[in-house]
């Protein structure tokens, strides 16, 4: 991997801090790397191949992309380092070993330009880590998964994108992989946040069998841009904080567990409301209905003939013959013996409790 770092030196605070950050990030991904710095891309590549740290003249010929025949010839005439190679006459070298070797040397020394196409990261992510031993607890899986999430974060940062969902696959020895889907409330890329969500999810799930390897897949990246924080309070940060809270709750309690309420135009009380996404805009309120209870008892509970006293009513609701949910009910307000107020109805000769005026 080649990085053009000269333009970033001031931002990173110099070469050493930049190298330290690179080493830390690479280690977090669980990879080993050899860093080398040089004024040209090819020289840096050769230095890195050798192990870095020395000058170009001291490098052995093995770092070159030359063919075996040329290397054999050069070794035969007693040349073992690049310095020796550079001291040879150019014309003779070109004739013996081909023009390509000479061009490579010129590029490494910066005498010839070497344009390169910029790397464009792929629009999806899939990576796998083999665990050193079979793991039976969630923390072990999470530790390995965090390394993959750091890689994912890097890819997403390069694409200025975020993910709304990703999949963790737990690979077992003699069984089909277990897939763990994690959904996010808003697009995100920070490995820390993704890791916390995954942790909640794994804590609920529990591991059924030992895990040999973990794999993380993500696709459908969404563009994500940086934001400027507001000076006087921040409505956007507040909304983002709320989105993260909803997401944490959903990961542990399930997608259906967090919802908002809205009306629905229907005379049947059990259909006069809808679940909506938390914080969705509610439609306008309906006109004055009759008295309605704050608690709706779903499904309606069957009552005996006694034990309550009717206070007001009836309100007849007859609706729904067209969709199979046919309702022909007379609603009353009733007081029970423990003096709680309830909304009950009579349908087909039976009494049902449908709500409580709490």
């Amino acid at each position: 991997m080649l990085l053009e770092v000269e333009g970033s030196l001031r931002l990173a605070g110099g070469l050493e801090p930049l190298a330290a950050r690179l080493r830390a990030d690479i280690a977090a991904m669980g990879l080993a790397a050899q860093l080398a710095v040089a004024p040209t891309a090819r020289a840096a590549l050769w230095l890195a191949r050798d192990g870095g740290g020395r000058t170009l003249e001291d490098l052995p010929l093995a770092v070159l992309d030359a063919d075996a025949e040329s290397l054999e010839f050069l070794r035969g005439i007693g040349i073992s380092t690049l310095g020796g190679l550079l001291s040879l006459p150019r014309e003779g070298l070109a004739r013996r070993c081909g023009r390509r070797l000479l061009d490579d040397l010129d590029r490494a020394l910066g005498k010839a330009p070497e344009p390169r196409a910029f790397f464009s990261p792929p629009p999806r992510f899939a990576a796998q880590i083999e665990l050193p031993a079979e793991v039976t607890h969630a923390e072990g899986v999470l530790f390995a998964a965090r390394r993959l999430l750091v890689q994912l974060e890097g890819l997403l940062a390069a694409r200025q994108a975020g993910v709304r969902r990703f999949t963790l696959a737990l690979l077992h020895r003699n069984a089909a992989p277990t897939a763990v889907e994690v959904d996010l409330a808003s697009a995100a890329r920070e490995a820390g946040r993704l890791g916390r969500l995954l942790g909640e999810r794994l804590a609920v799930l529990g591991l059924a069998r030992p895990v040999e390897a973990v794999r993380i897949e993500a696709r459908d990246f969404e563009p994500m841009h940086g934001f400027t924080a507001g000076f006087f309070g921040d409505a956007r940060a507040e909304a983002e904080g709320w989105a993260r809270l909803v997401e944490r709750l959903r990961v542990r309690l399930g997608d259906e567990a967090v919802y908002g309420l809205a009306f629905h135009p229907d005379h049947r009380p059990e259909r006069a409301w809808r679940r909506v996404d938390a914080d969705a805009d509610a439609p306008a309120a309906p006109g004055d209905l009759g008295p309605r209870p704050l608690w709706l008892v779903e499904p309606p509970r069957r009552l005996g003939e006694t034990g309550f006293e009717l206070l007001a009513g009836p309100e007849r609701i007859e609706s729904g013959w067209w969709d199979g949910g046919d309702a022909k009910r007379d609603y009353f307000i009733a007081r029970f013996e423990d003096s709680s107020l309830a909304w009950i109805y009579r349908e087909a000769g039976e009494w049902f409790l449908h709500g409580l005026f709490a």
């Binding site: 709320w242 908002g260 409301w273 704050l294 307000i333």
Partner: protein
């Protein structure tokens, strides 16, 4: 000099909407950043009516209200009729007591909700203590609804109120509050549905008819 009759100063308060009740509460309303316990004799005595004016005021000013693990479905048309802006009301369902407790802590620590109404079944003292600490870190009105049996147990809540039905209203006994103990139970005129109906109470003879006849010559909503 501290006088025994003075209230301790809470972090803030949101008016309950019942002026007589406000006068008995420290800070003049439901305390913010503290745990409030509301103990009802049974469901359906008007326990939600007690907190609804405060919720209506909070949601009207764009503050978020979370209902955690309610025992029944909160009914949207009735809430809206009481003035609650549904756009700022969120329901969180939690299957178990531990999940509910966890969710309560998350909501309170996130700090972007201004009221949390929670129903925890058989909460133990250490759990209530955690909830009270979490409430202390927030600036929200935290109300925990519990069964009447919990009156006898000790609780870390800052304010405890026991409710009993009393005729057309509600009788609230303040079991515990910061400052001097409350003397007499309070009568609070909560809204009852019979008033909303605007009709005379149902005559007994007609009630008997309703039990015997399936059809009554009444206007039909369809």
């Amino acid at each position: 000099m501290w006088r025994g009759g003075a209230f301790a100063r809470p972090a803030g308060a949101v008016p309950t909407g019942y002026p007589g009740f406000d006068r008995e509460l420290p800070g003049g309303g439901w305390p913010l950043g503290a745990l409030t316990e509301i103990l009802g004799l049974c469901e359906g005595v008007g326990e939600l009516q007690l907190v609804l004016p405060a919720l209506a005021a909070l949601t009207a000013s764009g503050k978020r209200v979370v209902w955690l693990a309610p025992p029944h479905l909160p009914y949207a048309p009735a809430l809206a009729a009481s003035g609650v802006d549904l756009a700022h009301l969120v329901v969180v369902r939690a299957p178990g007591r531990r999940d509910a407790l966890w969710a309560a802590e998350q909501v309170l620590r996130a700090g972007n909700c201004h009221a949390l109404l929670a129903w925890l079944r058989d909460a133990r003292y250490p759990e209530l203590r955690r909830l009270a600490v979490a409430a202390g870190t927030s600036r929200a009105f935290v109300a925990l609804f519990r069964r009447r049996e919990a009156i006898a147990t000790s609780s870390p809540a800052c304010l405890r109120i026991a409710l009993e039905p009393a005729g057309e209203g509600l009788c609230a006994r303040i079991l515990k509050r910061p400052g001097a103990p409350a003397a007499a139970p309070l009568r609070i005129a909560v809204k009852k549905p019979v008033h909303a109906l605007g009709r005379t109470p149902f005559p007994l003879s007609a009630a008997r008819d309703a039990r015997t006849h399936r059809r009554l010559g009444l206007p039909v909503h369809a």
